[in-house]
């Protein structure tokens, strides 16, 4: 099984795209070696611009470049791309529906040792609340490569959430990503686990453990948080006793919230939301933090078992 961070896959995909297309511009805010946008700079320096440690201006510059019919990728850590520059993203990019792809890395607690000041756990909530913005959280290298190509091919703003830590490849080579479509990775019948990003692998691991406890669960990769795959969610709700969402994000306003909004209106179903429990993270290795903040396969297994007893 390959092991690669989604940011690494982003850099590689972007480097291919900038060579293929002349309309693609790449911006970074002094983190290009970390976000991996530097891979694009290495192959096409005339289309990569470092904007320095000034994320607000970077987002406005991205908007300005996009007004000329260009496709712009703007990268930083999720904390700064979404947090520092939120209003620039809202007013200069999303409101005029400009063709900017915000590819933010180092999202969630698996950013690791830098600690809570750098661990964005609110970015999905913030971005999905903005009109015109679409939100995608790829799970591995195979999916990221397809996501980057898909957002480059579709006009308008996207927020792509990427991670720092290397993660195992969970998809096979024949996996096909489609914006707005969830993917059933493993069919079961009792409970459906709907996950995104690094949590897809944890959910798949939990499935094996749950099998030993006699629970047969479905695993879904819900990479597109917005627009959410409503049809799939309703179908899952109709065919399972309960729904569990798994995300490396605050339990407030993220994937769990998006799923609950749909099900509460379309097919009320008992849910368990697994995520960071409305608390700040801390320094540590990605693995230790996943465990401490209740995001590991072990915790998912325990919580799903307890949840199954309430159904």
């Amino acid at each position: 099984m390959a092991k690669m961070a989604t940011r690494e896959a982003y850099g590689k995909a972007l480097a291919v795209l900038v060579q293929e297309r002349n309309d693609i511009f790449v911006l970074d805010a002094d983190l290009s070696k970390s976000t991996k946008s530097a891979d694009a700079q290495a192959v096409k320096p005339t289309r990569h611009f470092n904007m320095g440690i000034a994320e607000a201006n970077m987002m406005g510059v991205a908007a300005g470049i996009a007004t000329g019919g260009n496709t712009v990728f703007a990268s930083s850590f999720a904390m700064f791309a979404v947090g520092r520059a939120f209003e620039q993203v809202r007013n200069s990019i999303a409101y005029p529906k400009l063709n900017v792809k915000i590819c933010a890395t180092h999202a969630g607690v698996t950013l690791g040792e830098d600690g809570a000041s750098h661990q964005a756990i609110e970015d999905i909530a913030l971005m999905r609340a903005v009109p015109n913005m679409r939100v995608i959280v790829p799970a591995d290298d195979i999916e990221t490569a397809q996501v980057i190509r898909a957002v480059a091919d579709q006009k308008g703003p996207f927020y792509v959430r990427l991670g720092r830590a290397a993660v195992n490849t969970v998809h096979s080579d024949d996996y096909v990503f489609e914006v707005g479509k969830g993917k059933v990775l493993s069919s079961g019948k009792d409970i459906a686990l709907v996950a995104c990003g690094v949590m897809v692998e944890q959910a798949l691991l939990a499935k094996e453990a749950l099998k030993e406890h006699g629970l047969d669960v479905t695993i879904v990769n819900m990479a597109t948080i917005k627009p959410l795959d409503k049809n799939l969610m309703v179908e899952l709700a109709k065919t399972h006793k309960g729904i569990v969402t798994c995300e490396e994000h605050n339990v407030l306003g993220g994937l769990g919230g998006a799923v609950a909004e749909v099900l509460a209106q379309e097919h009320p179903t008992k849910m368990l939301m697994i995520g960071v429990n409305d608390t700040f993270g801390e320094s540590g290795t990605p693995g230790a933090l996943l465990k401490k903040y209740g995001l590991s396969a072990e915790t998912i297994t325990e919580r799903v078992l307890a949840f199954s007893k309430t159904l």
């Binding site: 289309r47 406005g60 908007a63 300005g64 000329g68 019919g69 409101y95």
Partner: protein
């Protein structure tokens, strides 16, 4: 186009502004009046922006960074034939294309959606940067408020423009000295703006923003300046053209009543040109 013709256009724009804000009972007259000569000269003499090329994605561009002066921009677009004059009565009303702050989604000819201060200048930098990267000959202009210069993003953008040697970027600073809460030096002094832009690596020109000869000369000097962006610090009068509005920050963002409207329009109707 000569000074006399431009003076007529600037006066027409002021009448459009007054009509819009009176009709909407809402809007910003003071900071629209202060930029009337600058934008008349820009749209009718300096920049190549026309009804025919308005929808082009790549051409000379203008970004109204001080987006609350939207009546000024709409007035210009009417004079250019890009907006029909009848539409001005829809300003700030529901279902209108003429939003309180300009939206590029509705009007080809509004080159950037602005209104949140400090953001337009960054978009202008992006436009100029992309033209440089693609070796296109177009120029980018932006009008920034002096109060707006209190926003940190203005200086992030100023740094980036000089860093990338954007000599195709020309910033006009509408230096009218007033903001909503009063005198800019009392609210939060952004001065000296000339020295700040110079320190950030810009070529700086200081002019009277109501004097066409000085405006023409500044645009020419900006065009001939290579290797750095140009900031034209244009000293202006907020509310210029109507005596009881001039230099009075109370007219930043309020609409006139009927009596004030009639008095103001009478003054604009009496303006002699040339």
């Amino acid at each position: 186009m000569d000074k006399q013709q431009l003076s007529i256009i600037a006066n027409n724009i002021r009448k459009h502004v007054l009509n819009m804000v009176y009709s909407a009972n809402s809007g910003h007259i003071g900071g629209s009046f202060s930029g009337a000569e600058l934008l008349s000269a820009l749209y009718f003499k300096e920049a190549n922006i026309t009804k025919e090329n308005a929808a082009d994605l790549e051409r000379d561009k203008f970004v109204l960074s001080k987006g609350h002066a939207s009546p000024l921009l709409y007035g210009v677009l009417v004079e250019k034939g890009i907006l029909p004059v009848e539409e001005l009565t829809t300003f700030r009303k529901v279902d209108s294309r003429l939003q309180g702050h300009p939206s590029m989604s509705y009007i080809k000819g509004v080159d950037m959606s602005t209104g949140s201060l400090g953001q337009g200048i960054s978009a202008a930098v992006g436009m100029a940067l992309s033209y440089k990267a693609k070796e296109l000959p177009y120029r980018v202009y932006t009008l920034v408020g002096d109060g707006e210069a209190q926003e940190g993003q203005v200086w992030e953008a100023a740094m980036a423009a000089a860093h990338y040697k954007l000599d195709n970027l020309c910033l006009m600073l509408d230096f009218n000295g007033l903001q909503i809460d009063g005198d800019i030096t009392k609210v939060m002094n952004p001065n000296p703006l000339d020295k700040k832009f110079e320190a950030f690596g810009w070529h700086v020109i200081q002019i009277d923003g109501h004097d066409f000869d000085q405006i023409f000369k500044a645009f020419e000097e900006a065009r001939n300046t290579k290797g750095q962006p140009t900031a034209i610090i244009a000293t202006t009068v907020k509310g210029k053209g109507v005596d009881f509005m001039e230099n009075n920050y109370a007219w930043h963002g309020v609409a006139p009543n009927q009596e004030q409207y009639e008095k103001a329009m009478a003054q604009l109707n009496e303006v002699k040109h040339g």
